[in-house]
Symmetry: C2
Subunit: 303 residues, 2 copies
């Protein structure tokens, strides 16, 4: 029974990946013209074999409220926007002045494959593209599209993802309390994961206030579980599986959930959060099954 569910979820998430990849293929500019190198760099980082967790969350949240339309539509714009922001943040985080990573998913990072200037600009252009694409889906009211822009801008900006990265960089060689670590991760990773869930729901055009509140709770728990699992993988996975340098956070002497809580307690917390995420979906029927499976997958993944 469990095996069947997992296979089905695998199929679902593969379908989501294919769907967002196809939409991104259309969205990203063709590699041509005077700025061809910029466009090549944008595509290089967007199509880097990522797991597309934020789009999968968005599709799953949309599917929890209404059957996913087969045709390309607003939910695909949301999925693309999320992935553009995610890709831009990885490009900038990997820069020499930031985390100085030369490997991402087993491939050279953008500033290695291209150069630092192109990497910075590719990130900048991807951020703008995320907002541009949210303006487009004519099937949604202007009010909802504006709500999507606002939600993403807040999640990605100086009170969200960028704030988390700023605090993360300053935390090297420092002790953070569990509360401070959580504050940082809620912004660095959590904000965009939450935005993915909420924006996916908003893109259906039928989300009620109560549903959004329940989904917020789900997303907060999932976001935190995701980050704890990331910290666990940084310690236990090998570089080949992870596609980035194993132990990178340890090497930088960054505080992690594992360094603060120990491996076993970190695992326990991730599992508890995964359950809490599922509990917050009690008002949803079996249409929310994908979200429940995703909450379980996130703490079981090995890369």
């Amino acid at each position: 029974m469990t095996a069947t569910v997992e296979v089905t979820f695998e199929v679902f998430s593969r379908q989501c990946r294919q769907r967002v990849d196809s939409a991104l293929e259309h969205l990203l500019p063709a590699v041509a013209g005077p700025q061809a190198r910029l466009y090549e760099a944008m595509r290089y980082s967007v199509f880097n074999g990522g797991k597309r967790i934020r789009p999968v969350l968005a599709y799953a949240a949309a599917g929890a409220l209404a059957p996913l339309p087969a045709a390309v539509g607003p939910i695909d714009s949301v999925a693309c926007a999320l992935e553009c922001i995610h890709a831009y943040s990885l490009i900038h985080d990997d820069l020499p002045a930031m985390d100085d990573d030369d490997l991402r998913r087993g491939k050279p990072t953008s500033h290695i494959a291209f150069d630092e200037a192109t990497a910075i600009l590719a990130g900048d252009a991807l951020q703008a593209l995320a907002f541009e694409t949210l303006c487009e889906p004519a099937a949604l009211s202007a009010d909802i599209r504006l709500g999507l822009v606002q939600r993403l801008a807040r999640a990605a900006g100086g009170a969200g993802m960028v704030a988390g990265q700023a605090v993360d960089l300053e935390s090297v060689d420092r002790h953070l309390s569990l509360e401070q670590l959580q504050h940082m991760h809620n912004r660095k990773t959590g904000a965009l994961i939450e935005a993915g869930v909420i924006m996916g729901a908003m893109a259906t055009g039928v989300a009620t206030r109560d549903q959004l509140t329940a989904l917020e709770a789900y997303a907060r728990a999932v976001g935190l579980a995701f980050q704890i699992q990331d910290d666990i993988l940084d310690v236990v996975a090998d570089t080949a599986t992870l596609g980035k340098r194993q132990g990178a956070d340890q090497a930088l002497n960054k505080p992690t959930y594992v360094s603060l809580l120990g491996l076993e307690e970190a695992r326990r917390r991730a599992a508890t959060l995964s359950e809490q995420a599922c509990d917050s979906l009690c008002g949803f029927d079996e249409q929310a099954q994908r979200l429940r499976e995703l909450a379980r997958y996130i703490v079981k993944r090995s890369s």
Copy 2:
């Protein structure tokens, strides 16, 4: 007579600067909390004594269609968004991997005053803030606000400002034709100047299609004149007046209008464009006087 007009324009542009500065003061996050340093860097670059030409253009364009309201409103959100994008682009352009400038308006650039990572993140956060602030003015319909987001995203992104910067970086030590140089500048500087004019007009809520078309023509001419004047100043102004290293483009062996056309022809073209800009406003009455004055100011400025 001329003297009177110039004084009046000086007063107008000072009022615009004060108005956008006051709005930015409210918009930018207070320097507090775990990410205080990020916020300090955002404020440092936004409040760097800039001329606020894009906001002045936006206010002037709005004023050409309807009397500028005294109360804070949509036009101020537009002015802030333009300045956030402009400030972010300067921070990133000045980075060591880009133009490697250590001086901007006579002050250390962001990565010198702070550090590279903070500078990159401050730029990233300012871009997100620009889009966030355009979502807010409730006095405008969601349709118009969405149009503002779309216009700014296109102007700032990979087909606009970022494309121009990418091509500019690749043009070091290369020969560009006049056409290629123009293509680059239309994106690097022109796109945001055009957006300033059009968004200012849109923020009134009363712009007609014909008016926007005329303003597009005005903005294109002004944007190009602005860039030619920039190239002229890079050659003739001294570092103290310019607030950045005089001859920086020459030192980088970047093609400029002056290197392609010679100083006199560059001056002639700038003057012609300034006149063309004014001519495109023939359908507007004296309310467009600020725009006309601005077109003249842009080719007369000394910094």
